[in-house]
Every structure is written in C-alpha cells, then in structure tokens.
Symmetry: C2
Subunit: 319 residues, 2 copies
Amino acid sequence: MAKSRRLVDMLMFINTKRMFTAKELAEEFGLSVRTVQRYLLDLSELGLPLYGEKGRSGGYKVLKNRILPPILFTEEEAISIFFAYQALQYYHDLPFDAEIHTALQKFYVYLSEETKKKVDKMSAHIAFWNPKRNLNTPYLKELLEASLAGKYIEFLYDSKAGQTRKEVKPLGIYAHNGLWYCPAYSCDKQKVLLFRADRIHSLKVLEKDEQMSLTLKEWLEKEPINTQPILLKVTLTHEGVRQCKGVPWLENHVKVARDGNGYIDTITDGNELNYMASFFYTLGAHAFIEEPQELIGKIFCHAEETLRRYKNEVGTKDE
Amino acid sequence: MAKSRRLVDMLMFINTKRMFTAKELAEEFGLSVRTVQRYLLDLSELGLPLYGEKGRSGGYKVLKNRILPPILFTEEEAISIFFAYQALQYYHDLPFDAEIHTALQKFYVYLSEETKKKVDKMSAHIAFWNPKRNLNTPYLKELLEASLAGKYIEFLYDSKAGQTRKEVKPLGIYAHNGLWYCPAYSCDKQKVLLFRADRIHSLKVLEKDEQMSLTLKEWLEKEPINTQPILLKVTLTHEGVRQCKGVPWLENHVKVARDGNGYIDTITDGNELNYMASFFYTLGAHAFIEEPQELIGKIFCHAEETLRRYKNEVGTKDE
DNA sequence: CTTAATACGACACTTTTTGTCATATTAAAA
DNA sequence: TTTTAATATGACAAAAAGTGTCGTATTAAG
C-alpha cells in the first residue's frame, strides 16, 4: 500500500518536470537509483508514456500530456459525464473532440453491463435542440487555446468582399444557433471584430502574446454598451401576449391587463430594429407598435417595397 | 503491485454483487478469509462505502453506487470534460447536476496549477448561447431515468386549464431554447403528449413498466410525418445567398451561380409558411420568391395589411 | 577515453503481505 | 437455550514482495 502511494507521489512529481534523471528522483524520495528505475518501469506498465534516453546528457521524458493520478469515480458520475456529452452532440465540430472521446472510452470500458446499456440508450432519450449544421469548423481548439494564452493569430477569412488576411487576438469562442463565433481584437482597426469560426482558414498562431485585457465574457457583458437604447411601446392582443412571452428578450417586459390583452413599454437595443421588425411583422395584427417611429417606418417601407415587388405575381394569378 | 491489481479485481467483482461474504471472496480469489477482510479494509479506506453485517445471515454490502476502478486520465482529457460542462452552464436545472460537480471536483484537485488556471479561465472564454431561464425544473433526472427504464410515472401538470393529474410513460427529455420538454405516452389518450418539464409537479414513479416501444429519438424523427411538402423556389442576390447559407433549414439547398447570385429549388414543410414568410420578409430585396404562390400571397397580404395599419402613423409624422 | 546517463540481472536484506490460530461479538436458526 | 455462521480484531510465523548494493552492458556527449 505504501508503494502505491509513493508511485502516485512520483507520478505527480514527474508531471511537474519536462525532463528528469533517475538520480534526481532517488534523492527527492530517499530511494536508491535502482528502485527508482523499478518504479518507473511500474509506472510505464500502468500506462505512463515514459521514454528514457541513454548517454551523458540523457534522462527520462514523459511523452504525451500530463497524466493525472488514478481517480475513483462512481458510476453515477460517469453517467453524468456521458450526459454532459449529449449536449455537444449537435455540434458538427468541437474543440477537444478527440480527448472527450478517449475520456468517455476510458469510463465506458469499466462500466457494468447494466450501466453500459443505460449509457447506450441515453442518446436516444435526450436531445438538446439545436439546428444540425454541416459546416466544418476545424480551428475551434486553436481559437480557444489562443484566447486562453492571450496569443495573436493570423488567418484567412471569407468575408463579403472575398478572402482577406486578418491578424487578431481572439477573446474566446461561443456557439449560437449551431454556429461557432469568435470575437477577436484587431490591432489595425483598434477594435473587436466578430468572426464566424467556420469562415476561418489557414490559421497560424503567432508568437506575439499579451496578457488578456478582455475576455469573451467581459465582451459579451460589455456589448450592450454598443446598444443604442430606444423606447419600445407595443400593444398586444391576447395571442400577442402569448407569443411575446415565448421569446426571452421580451418575456420579462410584457404587462398583461385583466382582459388578457397586453402592453410592452421598455428600453431595447436600437441595433436590433431589423430583427424586431421581422418579429413584429410575424405577429401581424396581434401587435401594434406605438414607438419607436423608426421601427414603424422600417416595417412600413418594407411593406411598401414588398407590395411593389410582388404586385405582378399576385396580379397575374388572380386574373 | 500484485496486491493493487488484486484489489482492483476484487472491487470489480464486488461491484457485480449486491451482497457477499468474506468466504465467497476467499474462494473466488484463492485467499484466506483473514486476508480478504484485510483487503476489504483497504478498499473502504480507499473510499468504497462498505458495510458489514454480523450474525448468521450477515455479510458485506456496498452502500452508495458502484465505484469504478481507478482510471488514469490525461490533463487534456480532464480539460475536455470541463469544456463539455460549459455547454450545460446555461441551463438552470440539469439531471445529474450533483454528480457532474463531484466528478469535476475530483478532476480539479489533481490538475497542475497551470491547468487549474486554464480551466478557471475557460468559462470566461467560451459561451454556448442559450437564453438564460429561471424556471425550476426539479424532476429532470426522474423523467430521464423513468424513460430509460421504460417506467410509467404519475404527476400533476400545470396546463392552461389548471392543474391536472397525468399518468404517462416518458419517452425522454429534450432542451429547446433553454426550456426542458418531455414527450410522454398517455395510456388513456393512446398517444404521445408533449409536456414542459418545468410545469411538472409531485412526480411519482409507478411500478408499472414496459419495454420501450418508442424512444425520444424515434419520436423526434417520426414527427415530420406531419409535414406537408411544398415546392420552394427563390432567386437570391449575392447577399441573399450569404444569409440563406446561415440558416440550417436552407444551407444545403442554396445553389450558387458563377456571378455570386443564387437560387433555391427544394421541397419544404408547408406548415412553416408563416416562419418562411417572416424570414424572406427580412431578406427584402435580396430574395425573390417564385413559388409557392401561397407564400407570396401570405407576404403580400401581410404587407397590405401592415400598410393599412400603420398608414396614419407614418402620415402624421411626415406632415 | 572519461563521464554520466539508461538498462537490467543477481543476491542478500528488509518490509509487507499472508495464513493460521485464537478470541470476541452478533443475530438467525435449530 | 444452544448452535451456527457470519463480522471483527489481534498475534505471530511463514511467504512474498520490495529494496539496496553490487556488477555489467550500452549509449552519447564532452
């Protein structure tokens, strides 16, 4: 039992070193060099990828990544990890996809038959509703790692105007509606730009790094600074109330009268006018916008233009 | 070393049994009873919650859940698990929430300082955009477990008409837009009903169980039987192409000409006409619908009506 | 060609593990 | 009430495993 403990201690010690010699460990742990060699043999049999180099400036190296000491999990905990993985199933690409799979594999082999069945079944009984996407997003891990390390990157980006070269410092990544986005700070333009991760090609991590000034979270929280507060006033029918309560950006702002009709009187983001126009258009007669005038104007102009564009289509059919 | 291995073997053997005696194990492993007792002592020191009962029909029991043998993970794998957990951060309630936390805790304590920092940072650099909800959904785990076991459940449901008692067999759970839903088969009504999990109260698992006839997955796949296929033909400008490629239900159906303009010619669901109308309305001049006539009609009528409704509003301002 | 490292075998010595026996305690069955 | 079969624990000798000290081979840098 004492040996197992010392093996774990040694594993931990090794993890902190890039390279080490048997003599070093012998002194550290008060053991003979021979015993240390035997310990290292045991560790590699346990799965630690050790590589020894002979010769004067030789020593041992741990290949691969650091390995954690053996951990005891309960089956319930393993199940919970499989559950968490379900949430990721709907993304075509993920950072750390390979690692998640090897980790799940390690859990899976030790599960009891009964629990294996349960885990197998699970994917058929849980869904996280997200649009399935088929776009390849190969650089997710690199984007995330660069943002964690505060490193600059360089890549080609498919934008409206064709492919352009960008040099930026990513703040992080986020998933929205099945797509991955990456806000990144551009030195040239001195501001944060938002990129769609699937449109990023030929990424290269640059040496230039800088301690993080802004994280994704801060940026997401700050963003509302870019908002242009405008007053939104809408009257709603009974059905309009129901619909507005179903969207997160409005659910807390709908006031309902005793007769079931409703009213919205709140401040929202002026940058979202186009989205709002489309949303209230869908509601049709169930919502009547009182303010802002700009939103009414948008809807009105759009309606006029739409009429003009489809006039002939509808006309010919009717005749 | 031989001992550690035998300890693990014994752990595995114990896991398959509900109850056992020291003598049984002694015979199974070719050890003396005394040694088995000492092994069991070691195992409980390692964290296995063993409970021994004296007396004639006594024996050992493992309390709690099964424990997996010690597993060696790499740090990268641990990071990937923390990443997966990020995807769940936006749900107010989760099944297995407690277990996920204890599992992450076990990983966390063994991470190197460097990796701990990385993991701490991660939550600030990744987001899975989902509306934050504040509704309590306490029965998620029970719903999931019942669906896996094919068991019937009984609960009170807050529906439009007030609280009603339901007796159903859940097919599974799914998350959509930050809310949890549970489709479940009702024996009374002989069909699958869809429940919002946050509206379920006082759940009780019934003894009655039945091997699964339908899983959530099958149900979700079957649902489109309700679709009404219609032909959709749209011409797109360059920008229209870009926008349509950004929505999942169209991204695979956009054909792009050499000049950058595009064309859609596909079959979609007639039940979604209202949504489509709203979507193509937003695109404005970047999309021109050729078919179906019904969609054009919808957009046209809506535009006419919108004009009528807001005419005065815009007029008064202009004067 | 010396030095400092891995690699590994042999053997005596030390520590740990194991089996045996003894004893106490408990609870069900006879 | 006594017997029986289980846990629980201690003592001690025997067996096994682990350890240190050699020795020898091999390798590569200085």
